[in-house]
């Protein structure tokens, strides 16, 4: 029985058992998991990976080296959306954009590799699963050239350091990170009555405000209105990314003539903005002035306005319910029992959204320790669990991109801000199963013959592997076929 507890801890709560891990977790499975509740356990070694600031610096260097000062009229605009109007880019701009794109793609590949390696080797894989849950909750996906370079830094800077802290801290770090501001268009959203908006014929973009309420906090259908979204979007205006382009947008010119107090102040602001390139900053000139009313409460204007609204969203019971449901779905079942949701909700409210307390409550859910695995693994989970059991990364295949693409889950590339779906039906369609079989069939040819397929079952699943699967695997006509059946077995496809 305790072996089973250890196996559940390592596979359902963790990312899959490494050799010996089931035994190590078995004496005190819940304690083994709770020992992983610390910020350092969710960190990823970032040797060689760029910070957001470095990504922007690298872009700037490319621009400088190619004779285009950033922010100059016609220069490539780091925060602009896809196919921004007006005007077509010149040949030089296209070259620069291509170079930036190439560098971003290389950066993304490094991020994918580092993240996969870490998940395959970490001995705190519950913390890893927990971090990935929140990264998916606050999805920033590599949708286009402007965002590709930022998805990795976003997860490492905004998400991972905060997943065992207060939810409010995590929400703030996510909402005001350049990655999120670009991904959900807030970096280009301008208070509609500001001078900047009139000058630019630009204005409000409600995307981030909507998704924070719908996806990150309250949840859809929880009672907020379109008017609340617009008010919140106005409160979020002014939050953007430092850099010369933002300075121009705000009408702040570093070389403004004159020696009046106002001009000097403007110059100082402009210089500061140069220094802050690639940082999330608040620019008053872009912020819609005045108080805002969201969900019946009035918030006075300026810099602290959006944060004050976020603080109240954190403490809303709707947020507790929305996130408790998602957590229960992730750790218990696609349709989790009310009892499980309620327990997480209670821990959330009692601890004022302290995610360490919430994590402990999830581990303590009796509902999550059912004998049979019911959660269907997503493709990334499947690959990582093979790599963990074998200690090899053959699971990822020779061409990682192609394997991820075939299984329809390219890391950092969720199809929408809602993130990857977390239910069986989304991943178990006919073609998906066929692709998994093709994958298993090709991986099994490369798996080390140092262990037999039955030993693989022992290591990876322990007592979770049922008689039927054990028999099928042991009766296979070749080691290859045995591995294929083990990888495709109902127990290994689930957690």
């Amino acid at each position: 029985m305790t072996q089973l507890q250890g196996a559940i801890a390592a596979t359902r709560f963790g990312m899959g058992a490494r050799p010996g891990e089931i035994a190590a977790a078995s004496s005190d499975a819940r304690g083994w998991l709770k020992a992983q509740i610390k910020a350092s356990a969710a960190a990823i070694p970032d040797n060689g990976l760029l910070s957001t600031k470095q990504v922007y610096e690298a872009r700037r260097e490319i621009q400088m080296e190619n004779g285009m000062a950033p922010g100059a009229p016609g220069a490539p605009q780091p925060v602009r959306g896809q196919n921004q109007q007006p005007g077509q880019p010149t040949e030089a701009q296209r070259t620069i954009n291509q170079m930036i794109q190439r560098e971003s793609r290389e950066g993304l590949q490094k991020e994918v590799a580092a993240r996969g390696r870490h998940a395959a080797s970490t001995d705190t894989s519950f913390a890893e699963r927990w971090a990935r849950f929140w990264a998916n909750h606050f999805t920033v996906a590599a949708r286009n050239a402007q965002i590709i370079g930022l998805v990795g830094p976003f997860e490492r800077e905004a998400i991972r350091p905060n997943v065992f802290g207060n939810f409010g801290t995590l929400l703030g770090a996510s909402s005001f990170h350049p990655g999120m501001l670009v991904y959900l268009d807030a970096a280009r959203s301008i208070g509609p009555t500001t001078e900047a908006a009139k000058r630019r014929d630009a204005g409000l973009n409600e995307n981030l405000a909507r998704e924070i309420m719908e996806l990150h906090t309250l949840g859809v259908g929880s009672g907020y209105t379109q008017a609340d979204i617009i008010e919140f979007a106005k409160a979020l205006t002014g939050w953007t990314i430092g850099g010369p382009q933002t300075a121009r947008l705000a009408g702040i010119r570093p070389n403004a003539a004159g020696n009046g107090r106002q001009q000097r102040a403007l110059r100082e602001v402009a210089q500061e903005m140069q220094r802050e390139a690639g940082e999330a900053i608040f620019v008053e000139q872009l912020h819609e002035p005045g108080s805002r009313t969201v969900l019946g409460k009035t918030y006075p204007g300026a810099k602290g306005q959006a944060s004050a609204i976020l603080d109240d969203l954190v403490m809303s019971p709707a947020t507790a319910h929305h996130i408790a449901t998602k957590l229960a779905r992730h750790f218990v079942a696609d349709h989790p029992p009310e009892s499980a949701i309620k327990k997480i909700e209670t821990a959330w409210m009692k601890s004022n959204a302290d995610l360490s307390a919430v994590a402990r409550a999830v581990i303590d859910l009796d509902e999550a320790w059912a004998e049979q695995p019911v959660k269907f693994k997503q493709p990334e989970e499947l690959l990582i669990s093979v790599a963990r059991a074998t200690g090899e990364d053959s699971a990822f295949g020779r061409d990682q991109r192609a394997v991820y693409q075939s299984l329809a889950q390219q890391p950092f590339s969720a199809p929408s801000p809602a993130g990857w779906p977390d239910d069986t039906a989304s991943w178990s369609g006919a073609d998906a199963i066929k692709k998994r079989l093709e994958w298993a069939n090709s991986v099994s040819r490369r798996m080390s013959r140092a262990m037999t397929p039955s030993e693989f079952l022992d290591r990876a699943l322990g007592p979770i592997a049922g008689t039927r699967t054990r028999q099928a695997v042991s009766r296979a006509e070749s080691a290859e076929q045995g591995f294929t059946l083990a990888l495709m077995s109902p127990e290994f496809q689930r957690r």
């Binding site: 896809q82 280009r188 859809v220 299984l407 039906a425 006919a430 077995s489």
Partner: protein
């Protein structure tokens, strides 16, 4: 009712199936033809992300359109009829309209009135009014089909619209890695005997592969994940290939992603409209003779704001646009009414007010194209939908 696979072409894999699943292949199941369908086909294209219908088909004679969105109107749009013009990136669709093989339903929307993509897509696919169910309306339709119809979706994941109790569904995308041997497949079938979910999926996959046979190895066919505009043509071609098979499925579902244009809309849509235009044309070519019996419907979860936003884009709106095409469609005309763009006529002073319930179009096509019974449409397939009467005369 017989298994979809059974009506698909036979190949070596088909022989495997007979052995393991007697429940599917019921007595007298040599159905092969489905006479009720008379070779008619339905293609449902879900344009995910909310296409700006007013950019695709601006009502250029609406006196208020320029005040709302002058910068979003294509100056080269091709005039069609009734004051509507089609974006110039879709010349082939315009030609189909002139040939009376394409039509449009402006200001269309489901019963949903909020603006969440995800909830709206789920409701569009499950056919519900307020709450999302685990099964889609096309799956429920298959359970009540007038004959042993089957459906296929193109892409690695089965969309909600086809999920549910009916197993007459399959999904397909091209193989990337070498396939497993028949022996391995047989053993896996056996291993899945007590796992209904995996068993049903593997069964359907084998069936789809039997049809796709000649497509295997051709990676241009429906390749890659759902993906952007570059995938539109291969996905629609793959759908055409399935439908054109003798005894192939009656229904195909294709998801085309990338329509959420919050910023820089004109450039993004130029690319997507071009890809959609080419994709529908490729579907027509692939279908060959079958095109004349085919109805294609493309629809989004909702429309977009009437006014341009701060980033030369549009935000989530309400009334959208359905595109109808195919030899079976009574084309060359606009269906429904135009609610106008007067400030007072806008929904919540921002969106195009819906004039047609999307379920009316779904029901009209199911009834008139493929012969579903009206009372099943009103209750079992689209619960509580009597208010949305089937739209007649589409085919």
């Amino acid at each position: 009712m017989t298994l979809a696979l059974n009506s698909f072409a036979l190949n070596r894999r088909h022989l495997l199936l007979a052995g393991f699943s007697a429940t599917f292949i019921s007595a007298g199941a040599a159905n092969a033809a489905t006479p009720e369908s008379k070779g008619r086909k339905l293609v449902v294209i879900i344009l995910r992300g909310a296409m700006d219908g007013m950019a695709a088909l601006p009502k250029i004679d609406d006196p208020d359109i320029r005040a709302h969105r002058a910068s979003l109107i294509d100056p080269k749009a091709i005039a069609l009829s009734d004051g509507f013009a089609l974006h110039s990136a879709m010349p082939k669709l315009a030609a189909l309209y002139q040939a009376k093989q394409a039509a449009f339903v402006p200001a269309i929307a489901g019963p949903y009135r909020e603006r969440s993509h995800f909830e709206a897509q789920d409701l569009l696919e499950c056919g519900g009014v307020k709450s999302v169910s685990d099964d889609g309306w096309l799956n429920r339709a298959l359970q009540k089909a007038p004959a042993a119809y089957s459906a296929v979706s193109i892409g690695p994941s089965q969309p909600l619209i086809l999920r549910g109790a009916s197993t007459h569904t399959s999904s397909w995308s091209p193989p990337v890695l070498p396939e497993a041997s028949d022996d391995t497949l047989n053993r896996l079938m056996d291993l899945y005997e007590s796992d209904p979910v995996l068993k049903a999926s593997l069964t359907a996959a084998v069936g789809a592969e039997a049809v796709a046979g000649s497509m295997a190895g051709d990676k241009s066919m429906g390749g890659g994940r759902g993906g952007g505009p570059a995938q539109y043509t291969p996905q629609l071609q793959a759908a055409g290939k399935f439908l054109a098979q003798p005894d192939g499925p009656e229904i195909a579902v294709v998801s085309l992603e990338g329509w959420d244009t919050h910023t820089g809309q004109n450039g993004a849509l130029q690319q997507r409209f071009t890809a959609l235009d080419n994709g529908i044309d490729a579907l027509r070519t692939q279908l060959g003779d079958t095109w004349k019996n085919t109805a294609v419907m493309a629809i989004s979860e909702f429309g977009r704001t009437v006014r341009v936003n701060g980033g030369q884009g549009t935000d989530h709106g309400t009334g959208g646009l359905a595109i109808l095409a195919g030899g079976a469609i009574k084309g060359g005309r606009m269906y429904g009414d135009w609610p106008t763009l007067k400030a007072a006529a806008l929904y919540e002073n921002r969106d195009l007010t819906p004039a047609v319930d999307a379920r009316s179009v779904f029901k009209g096509l199911l009834r008139d194209q493929l012969g579903w019974a009206a009372n099943d449409l009103d209750s079992k397939i689209f619960a509580d939908s009597a208010v949305a009467k089937p739209m007649g005369g589409l085919v």
